[in-house]
């Protein structure tokens, strides 16, 4: 009888190790000047260097070095005063040179940490994940497996290779072993990857889209008995392509390891592949012998020796840590938990903050972006950052409403106008002739007209039946083509009817 999860964590301590690969969002590749556009036609972004044609030589992308140092700084790492590229030698068809330019014993960043907070039964709890190293390397090409039943590599008849991705800058972030997470191991891992993703997004160095592979996670898991002093044998799970999968893969591996150990077996040190559909891992093809990568310093490249002053300049440009910023904004804006979560999920924090910085009320700013603007963006099938209305527009709109020049309802028309490209809110107001009817005389005329036409209803209101006023207010609004302020109409109407 296999142990359930609670039994597993009661008996064993999980030890984690996480390797995250991040594709940088540089314009050009790591060692050549080819474009890095995602989804381009096959083999349209290749050159002698990234195809490894005879004679071609790599030259490092300066921006990639800068981005990597920023990542290191954001992860509290030391930046190496001297670091080098090394060749990792092994044959694989999607790797044109049959070696990967990477960093070996001289990585550019080392010894950092990331703090993450998760909800536990005892309330929020912080875990520190220590980062061993952050280094630069290059991505491989993509293969398409043709034939066979599964479309997978095994059983395919042949493969088709596209080298557009070959040579895109990758940064690998490797943690030290992470002990002491106990039953929260899966959540801690997920929180770490989520925090990394937010930090990297905040730095603007990567698209961090797990579904497009610009952020990929390999999870090492091992179990040790509670009182043991030696680490257990680990498995390395690759292909973990969403935050939820990180959690599932680790939980799954903990259960799988426990079952092996409980039945007196030995966990095999191997690479496994996570399968999104089943949530289980599958063993990779085991190699006949351990790979010997024969690392040596790449003789085509020279050492990287970042200037200390430059590092400090980069440090000064680092944005506030995302988790700290979220805490601060939530407090400053006094947003309830649920709503704040909605803002984070909708990715509107930046845009709302910009709107607030332009003088708008935080609650109003949040309501506009999360409400009307999001709705239109949704209808159009675009993201909120792509839609053509700026924080300045929204701030102006909020001002117009606050000063009584627009009603909420009219403001919605203005938003439509701005998005349709008719100009700034005030330009739309002018062009469309939108204005609140504030002229009491005009309003009174409309009220008198409506009360005459609907004398019965007017009589009910006059008799104290206030809910009936709604129909009259609606009619007045219609009469004024929606340009009246409903509150004002109500006030005048009730007064007119002696209430």
């Amino acid at each position: 009888m296999a142990l359930n999860y609670d039994e597993v964590v009661a008996k064993y301590d999980p030890v984690l190790g996480l390797e995250v690969h991040v594709e940088l969002n540089t314009e050009s590749k790591m060692f050549c000047s080819c474009a890095t556009t995602f989804g381009a036609e096959p083999n349209t972004q290749t050159c002698p260097v990234c195809l490894a044609l005879p004679g071609a030589l790599p030259v490092v992308n300066a921006k990639a070095i800068e981005s990597t140092i920023k990542i290191g700084l954001a992860l509290n790492c030391s930046i190496a005063p001297y670091s080098r590229f090394a060749r990792k030698n092994y044959f694989y068809p999607d790797m044109p040179k049959n070696f990967q330019i990477s960093q070996y014993d001289e990585p550019i960043c080392f010894d950092g940490y990331v703090d993450v907070e998760i909800e536990t039964e005892e309330g929020p709890k912080q875990f520190r994940i220590e980062v061993e190293r952050v280094h630069m390397e290059e991505d491989t090409g993509k293969s398409l497996h043709v034939g066979g039943a599964t479309g997978r590599i095994h059983g395919a008849d042949y493969s088709l290779l596209d080298y557009n991705r070959a040579g895109i800058p990758l940064v690998e972030i490797v943690t030290k072993i992470v002990p002491g997470t106990g039953k929260y191991a899966p959540e801690v891992a997920k929180a770490y990857v989520a925090e990394l993703r937010d930090i990297l997004r905040g730095l603007g160095v990567s698209d961090v889209k797990m579904e497009q592979g610009s952020l990929r996670c390999d999870a090492n898991v091992s179990l040790m008995l509670k009182d043991a002093t030696e680490l257990g044998t680990r498995s390395e799970t690759k292909n973990v392509n969403s935050l939820r999968s990180v959690e599932r893969a680790i939980r799954g591996e903990m259960l799988r390891h426990a079952e092996i150990l409980e039945t007196g077996g030995k966990v095999k040190q191997e690479t496994r592949h996570f399968q999104e559909d089943t949530g289980l891992t599958r063993s990779g093809r085991s190699k006949e012998q351990a790979e010997d990568y024969r690392y040596f310093p790449d003789p085509d490249l020279v050492p990287v020796k970042p200037d200390a002053a430059w590092i400090e300049t980069l440090r000064a440009t680092l944005p506030e840590r995302p988790s700290i910023r979220r805490k601060r904004l939530k407090e400053q804006w006094a947003v309830p938990d649920k709503e704040f979560e909605a803002m984070v999920n909708a990715d509107v924090l930046d845009i709302v903050e910009q709107t607030v910085l332009l003088g708008a009320d935080p609650t109003k700013a949040r309501t506009w972006w999360l409400g009307e603007v999001s709705r239109i963006a949704n209808d159009k099938g675009v993201s909120i950052t792509e839609i053509s209305i700026t924080p300045a527009d929204v701030a102006e709109l909020i001002n117009l409403v606050a000063s009584g020049e627009l009603t909420d309802k009219l403001a919605r028309q203005v938003v439509e106008g701005v998005i349709a490209g008719e100009g700034s809110p005030s330009e739309v107001v002018a062009k469309r002739g939108i204005k609140v009817v504030n002229d009491d005389g005009a309003l009174m005329a409309a009220i008198e007209k409506v009360c005459a036409a609907q004398a019965d209803t007017a009589e009910k209101v006059r008799g104290g039946h206030l809910p009936a006023a709604g129909a009259l207010i609606g009619a007045v609004m219609k009469e004024t083509a929606g340009q009246a302020d409903a509150a004002k109409v109500r006030e005048l109407l009730l007064k007119y009817l002696g209430q």
């Binding site: 050159c47 002698p48 195809l51 490894a52 044609l53 005879p54 004679g55 071609a56 030589l57 790599p58 030259v59 490092v60 060749r87 030698n89 044959f91 068809p93 044109p96 040179k97 049959n98 070696f99 008849d157 493969s159 290779l161 010997d292 024969r294 690392y295 040596f296 003789p299 085509d300 490249l301 020279v302």
Partner: protein, 499 residues
């Protein structure tokens, strides 16, 4: 005209006494007449050369400013990529490959209007000292067709020596320009590492490879040197500094007051008697011209050969991994559902020759885990000692000298089965490569025992290439006046071409 020097040809072209098309055609005729015996060329680009010549003639007729060597033909070692022209590096594995790009050296030659006649034979991937390791059969020494022209740039040296081209480009990883220049009685220079771009030079050993010029005189060689040298952003190991004024130096040969250091370790035992005699004679001549001859001690040179035969194979084992039958070149064994892995192994077996395989296996061994420190690591430390020996020697002398090769040209087949004997032929040239400095070989006369050319090697510190030319031109002038012409004018006529 083909027996003239490049400088004389350039003058005749400038004076419009001859057109580049005529000059090119004369050389193509000469190739047609003698190359059946010499086998210097792997590919003769008749149409391309004539088209290039015609373009130079048109530019000249139009009065455009032209570079000094515009319209002069040249032979190009097949190790350099030339767009649309078969480029094999002497290997079957690249048979039929036509690069879609130009190496930087080729771009510079084209920009200077130098006419590229074709690609010359070489030891496969520049691994060898006799051109017998070519996948396409050996080249024969024009001085004695039963002997090798040296290597690996044997085809280029033979082409210049046989008057098939006045100039040629070679590459020198352990002596592959200087040694064949010595064995064929011409001038060859290995420029300072980083002075000539390696972009498009098919790599053998990245930290040692350097392309360089061959000519029949010191001045011709300098003219070509100035065209191909210079900073290139496509090569991260390229030196960003102005090219030393080698042409000016070649025009002002003078050793008065120059300190010339004779390296104790590079003479005597192991050197053929006639080689040693001509070397000593040249020293006496230099002394008579006012040079001060001193002896310098470079004790670590004794270990240079060992270090070289670890570093070069190690780098080559990685550099040659890209020849895998996936993207270009030969593909064998692709039948009956063979895997990519099997096809790679089969192709690399079929496509690489014995010496290449030997060095790949040796390099793989030297880099493999457990042996790295003892072999590759130690070799790199020896390299440091050699650099230190040179640094000290250059405080005692302006240039250093030695015989270029221990022997004159040997018989075809004499050393093919004894790799160590072949390797020993590089003993005097290798230290220059390990230290990244520059070296020249120029003719010192014929050895009395076999009447074959002997080379005199001059070495100078990094980026002091002009010193080679200054000393070389002085020695050349003194020897020529003694002989009544340069040594090459004493070369025997070849059957195919009366002279």
């Amino acid at each position: 005209m083909i027996y003239k020097n490049a400088t004389e040809m350039a003058a005749a072209l400038a004076a419009k006494e001859i057109s580049s098309v005529e000059l090119t055609q004369s050389h193509l005729n000469r190739i047609g007449a003698v190359d059946g015996d010499v086998k210097a060329f792997l590919h003769v680009d008749t149409e391309g050369a004539l088209a290039q010549a015609a373009a130079v003639d048109a530019d000249r007729a139009a009065g455009k400013a032209l570079s000094p060597l515009a319209g002069v033909p040249l032979a190009l070692k097949d190790v350099l990529a030339q767009k649309g022209v078969p480029t094999t590096a002497g290997s079957k594995i690249l048979q039929g490959w036509k690069p879609p790009y130009d190496s930087t050296v080729v771009s510079k030659l084209k920009n200077a209007g130098v006419v590229i006649l074709g690609k010359t034979n070489m030891d496969e991937f520049a691994m060898g000292s006799s051109t017998e390791n070519s996948g396409y059969g050996p080249t024969f020494n024009p001085w004695d067709l039963t002997r090798t022209p040296g290597g690996s740039s044997g085809g280029s040296a033979a082409a210049v020596s046989a008057f098939e081209a006045p100039l040629a480009i070679g590459s020198d990883t352990g002596g592959s320009i200087r040694q064949p220049a010595a064995l064929t009685g011409i001038v060859g220079v290995r420029p300072t590492y980083g002075a000539v771009s390696r972009y498009g030079l098919i790599a053998y050993s990245s930290s040692l490879d350097q392309a360089g010029p061959f000519g029949r005189t010191v001045l011709d060689t300098a003219m070509l040197h100035e065209i191909i040298a210079g900073y290139d952003p496509h090569d991260a190991t390229s030196i960003n500094a102005s090219v030393p004024s080698v042409v000016a130096a070649a025009k002002n040969g003078d050793v008065k007051g120059m300190k010339i250091g004779v390296i104790k370790q590079l003479q005597g035992e192991g050197y053929q008697k006639g080689v040693q005699t001509r070397f000593t004679e040249s020293l006496d001549l230099l002394a008579s011209l006012g040079a001060e001859i001193v002896e310098v001690d470079c004790p670590s040179f004794e270990f240079a050969l060992a270090a070289y035969y670890l570093i070069a194979p190690s780098e080559c084992s990685s550099n040659l991994a890209r020849f895998d039958a996936m993207r270009y070149g030969l593909r064998t064994g692709d039948e009956g559902g063979a895997s990519a892995e099997a096809v790679m192994a089969s192709t690399r077996d079929a496509g690489f020759g014995r010496e290449v395989k030997r060095r790949i296996i040796l390099g793989t061994y030297a880099l493999s885990s457990g042996y790295y420190d003892a072999y590759y690591g130690s070799a790199q430390k020896i390299r440091t000692l050699i650099i230190q020996d040179y640094a000290k020697a250059f405080t005692q002398a302006d240039v250093l000298v030695s015989p270029t090769a221990p022997t004159t040209a040997y018989k075809i087949g004499e050393k093919v089965d004894d790799p160590m004997a072949m390797y020993l032929g590089d003993v005097a040239t290798i230290p220059v490569n390990l230290a990244g400095i520059c070296g020249m070989s120029l003719p010192a006369g014929l050895a009395e025992e076999d009447n074959l050319p002997v080379g005199f090697q001059i070495m100078a510190p990094a980026m002091q290439d002009q010193r080679l030319y200054q000393a070389g031109a002085a020695l050349e002038a003194a020897l020529s006046s003694k002989w009544g012409g340069t040594l090459i004018t004493k070369a025997p006529a070849l059957a195919g071409g009366a002279r």
